[in-house]
Every structure is written in structure tokens, then in C-alpha cells.
């Protein structure tokens, strides 16, 4: 079959059934996390205990798929050992790579486990090839996940100037996109992904139903109010509607999901190594739906890049599961530089 190289498909798993759904529907790799604040999806009841990890890694690797362990929060004062233990544990489990953000932890992992493959997390916030090359030179990082602030042309510039594989986001909820540097959640609640592994932790969130409307509050702050026919989003400050200059609107970011199907040929052409799906907090159903659509699109691209066309069925399935029920190309096609 004539085919061209296409990016690997990296899918999220917050549970064993989600991991199996990703593998069964064509993910090349899944990324998972521990049940604690060493990863940025530290939500009640989510993620893998030791038993589920062993089972999940065996399930994926026996089918020639890879497992990546996200240890992508920042070690907190006095507790660095917990993050180091997480890296040691991942190495012992035989994961194919760890996804790290903390410079100190990258240093630890590269010294302690020289054969362990390191990926630089999006939370590491490397937006330039200098930053990516620094991580490569100092810690031997072999892949970097770029934040979702870059245009395609900027992604290409990074790729041309680094030996490091580049991974970009292909689908999933968008936030204000300042990954690893965002403190909006801390502003409202005192807690953020970098510190506790969760943005806008659920214990601060209240949904209030009233006739004809639903209000969202984060730690008492009114973030949004939806009419009964309006699509809702996650309860984060960046997706709230605020009164600015006498107008009430999404002043920071609209609730939407990134979807790169339309630019998939360009993404493959510039040499992106992998595309990542956001959503370890979502259900196995979402993982199956998104993985299935993107796999079909990547396979279509691989087999006949010349005649690649985005199928309506893929778009419909992805639009349905999107936050705010809308999709966008995000920064990839923005005119700004």
C-alpha cells in the first residue's frame, strides 16, 4: 500500500477501560498518570492505581502500542521525593517514556535513569527551538510537546531547528493555552495545575440551577450563566463571560475544542512526529469516539495524501464531543506572529 509517514496518534486514558478503548480504536500510544498530584489531571476517582497500571501497560505493549506516563506537575516544596518516586516507579513499570515538565525532575530522571525516554510536557512551556534544544542538550529529552500558542509556521520553524521530535495537540478542550505558566485558577482558588494537579478543582465548583438558567461559580465567583438552550463549558476563569467596557462576553477564551483535521496534511508535511488528544478526565466513550475518528483520518492521509479530504462523519463525531459543542483551529491558523 503506498503511504506516507503520518504523525503518531497519542491518546488520553484516565482509567483502564479508557486505555483499552484508545488501544482498540487505533492509538499508537496512550498517556496515563498516577492517582496523585504528580500529574495535571489529579481528579477524584480518576487515574491508575498500581494494579490498573500493570494491566494497562501489558494490554497496550502486548499490542505493540506505547504507554507514556505523565508526571507533569511541579515538585512542591519539601515534597520533591514524591515526584522522584513517581519517576522511579514509571521506570520500574517499564513505560515507554515519561512526560515531565519540572526542570529539577528532568535532571533527576536523566541522571538516575539514563535509558528512560524523556518527553518534555506541554506544561514545560517550551515555545521556541532554543528552549527545546536546551532540554535536549541538558537532559537528553527526545520529544517535546508544544503549547497551543504557536501557528503552524512557528511549529515548522521549531521542527527545522531541533533534533527533538515535536508533538502538537490535535484535538481537545482549549484553555487560555498558556500552559505551565497559567495562574488563573490560583487567582480564584489558590490552587492550580502546577501546584495541585488540577485546574479549577471540583471542590470549588458550584452549578446552580434556576428556572431557565444555570450559573457556574468558582469559589463563589460567578463565571458564567447559561440559558437552557446554550452549550456549557468547563468551569474555568479563562472560559467565563465577564463584563468588560459595558459588554458581557467571553473576554479571554470561548469554550471550544481544538480540532486539526482540516490542517492534518500540513501538520504531516512539516514533520510533526505525533499529535496528542486532550482529555484524560473524559470517559472511555469519548476516548473511543475521538481515537476512531482521528485514526481514520490519519490512515486516509497515509494511504493517499493527494486526495485527502476531511469526511463529514469524522467532523460530526468530533464536534459532538467538543466543549461548548464547537471546534476551532486555535492558534494554528491565526495571522499573528
Amino acid at each position: 500500500m503506498p503511504h506516507r509517514a503520518v504523525p503518531q496518534l497519542i491518546c488520553p486514558a484516565g482509567s483502564l477501560p479508557a486505555l483499552k478503548a484508545a488501544v482498540d480504536h487505533g492509538a499508537d500510544a496512550v498517556y496515563i498518570g498516577y492517582r496523585d498530584d504528580t500529574n495535571a489531571r489529579n481528579f477524584a476517582g480518576l487515574n491508575f492505581d498500581q494494579k490498573a497500571m500493570v494491566a494497562g501497560i501489558r494490554y497496550a505493549q502486548s499490542r505493540q502500542r506505547k504507554v507514556l506516563m505523565a508526571i507533569n506537575t511541579f515538585a512542591q516544596p519539601g515534597r520533591a521525593a514524591a515526584w522522584q518516586r513517581a519517576v522511579d516507579g514509571a521506570a520500574d513499570l517499564g513505560v515507554d517514556a515519561v512526560i515531565l515538565a519540572d526542570i529539577g525532575l528532568l535532571d533527576y530522571a536523566s541522571r538516575r535513569h539514563p535509558t528512560l525516554r524523556l518527553h518534555l510536557s506541554v506544561q514545560g512551556s517550551a515555545t521556541s527551538y532554543e528552549a527545546v534544544n536546551f532540554a535536549h542538550r541538558e537532559f537528553g529529552v527526545q520529544r517535546a510537546v508544544l503549547p497551543r500558542v504557536l501557528t503552524l509556521a512557528q511549529v515548522e520553524t521549531v521542527i527545522r531547528n531541533t533534533p527533538v521530535e515535536i508533538e502538537v495537540f490535535g484535538f481537545g478542550s482549549l484553555c487560555v493555552m498558556n500552559e505551565g505558566r497559567c495562574w488563573l485558577s490560583s487567582y480564584a482558588t489558590g490552587e492550580s495545575p502546577n501546584t495541585v494537579g488540577a485546574c479549577s478543582p471540583a471542590k470549588y465548583v458550584k452549578w446552580e440551577k434556576s428556572p431557565g438558567a444555570m450559573s457556574t461559580r468558582l469559589n463563589g465567583i460567578l463565571i458564567d450563566r447559561f440559558g437552557d438552550d446554550e452549550a456549557a463549558g468547563y468551569p474555568t476563569l479563562c472560559k467565563g463571560r465577564f463584563e468588560v467596557g459595558g459588554e458581557t462576553y467571553y473576554a479571554l477564551e470561548e469554550p471550544a475544542s481544538l480540532n486539526v483535521l482540516e490542517v492534518l496534511p500540513e501538520i504531516a508535511a512539516i514533520g510533526v512526529a505525533a499529535i496528542k488528544v486532550e482529555g484524560r478526565q473524559r470517559s472511555p466513550t469519548y476516548v473511543a469516539q475521538v481515537t476512531r475518528s482521528l485514526r481514520a483520518a490519519l490512515d486516509a492521509l497515509a494511504s493517499d495524501a493527494q486526495h485527502f479530504q476531511v469526511k463529514a462523519a469524522w467532523q460530526a463525531e468530533l464536534a459532538r464531543v467538543s466543549e461548548g459543542s464547537q471546534v476551532t483551529l486555535g492558534a494554528y491558523n491565526r495571522p499573528w506572529r
Binding site: A44, G45, P201, A202, V205
Partner: protein
């Protein structure tokens, strides 16, 4: 599962809700509590997560059926509540089709929430815990339809 059949999005006729609301609600509560206990006994629900439900009250409201079920978890057992609690710790409301789609893993709860087909009021963290607990349940696998080989690269 959804490769074999698909639950459509539907709304029961108004009459169903009108009649349903006049019927006694305790059988729903009893049925739901019994089902949850059976799932727990079968080892489907992770023990550490279930333990965190101790003493909390829940209401499940099936809007277009005029039916609700309420229950609590106490002393390791799900127990039906004979009277609707005034201020439950958590309440889920949706139409019957949305609940069925959720149970069949045909739709993702966040999707239903974004689309305003599922409402969650009360302790949000408790809701998240329950959602994640149910997501982690390994459902028995139906026989797979034979699939064509996929050429991988």
C-alpha cells in the same frame, strides 16, 4: 456496544411524565439501590472510591418519565431513601434517553453536560468521583465483530 445498536436521542411524551409523577417513587429508589449493591458485590465498583460515598445522599431525576430515585450509602450498603431528601448532596437530572446512552457507554457524560442534556447540582467533587468511578468499571465484553486487518505503519 454501539457498533451493534444505538440508543436514539428521544423524549418521552408529556403524558408519561404527568402520570409518572403521580406514581409512588419508592420502587425506583429500591431498584436502583439494589442494582448498585449487586454491582458492588460483583466487585465492579472500586472499594476506595465507594467508601467516600459514606453518609451522602443522592437523587437521580428522570425528567421526561416524571420519576426520581433517591438513595444513600451507609455502613457499606446502598440504601433507598423512602422520602425525597430536601437538600441532597448530589442530584443528577436528565431525560431517559440520556441516562440510557450513559449506561450503554454510548455518550460521554461531559458531552451530555456540554450539550445541556445532563444537569449535576450539589457537591461537584462528589459528582466527579462518581463519574470517574463508573468510568473505571470494566464492563463485560460482547463478542467483537470480526474486523478487517488494519495496515499499520
Amino acid at each position: 456496544m454501539s457498533e451493534f445498536f444505538s440508543i436514539p436521542r428521544f423524549k418521552l411524551p408529556r403524558l408519561v411524565a404527568a402520570v409518572g409523577a403521580k406514581l409512588p417513587q419508592w420502587p425506583h429508589s429500591l431498584a436502583l439501590a439494589t442494582a448498585l449493591n449487586a454491582a458492588a458485590r460483583a466487585g465492579l465498583l472500586p472499594a476506595d472510591s465507594v467508601a467516600m460515598l459514606e453518609g451522602r445522599t443522592f437523587v437521580v431525576d428522570v425528567l421526561d418519565a416524571g420519576a426520581h430515585a433517591s438513595f444513600t450509602y451507609r455502613g457499606g450498603v446502598f440504601r433507598p431513601l423512602w422520602q425525597l431528601p430536601q437538600d441532597p448532596d448530589l442530584s443528577f437530572s436528565a431525560r431517559l434517553s440520556a441516562f440510557l446512552q450513559l449506561l450503554a457507554r454510548q455518550e460521554d457524560p461531559d458531552t451530555l453536560f456540554f450539550n445541556r442534556e445532563l444537569t449535576i447540582v450539589g457537591d461537584t467533587e462528589l459528582g466527579l468521583l462518581i463519574k470517574n468511578m463508573l468510568d473505571a468499571v470494566e464492563l463485560p465484553r460482547l463478542p467483537q465483530r470480526p474486523t478487517l486487518p488494519i495496515f499499520r505503519h
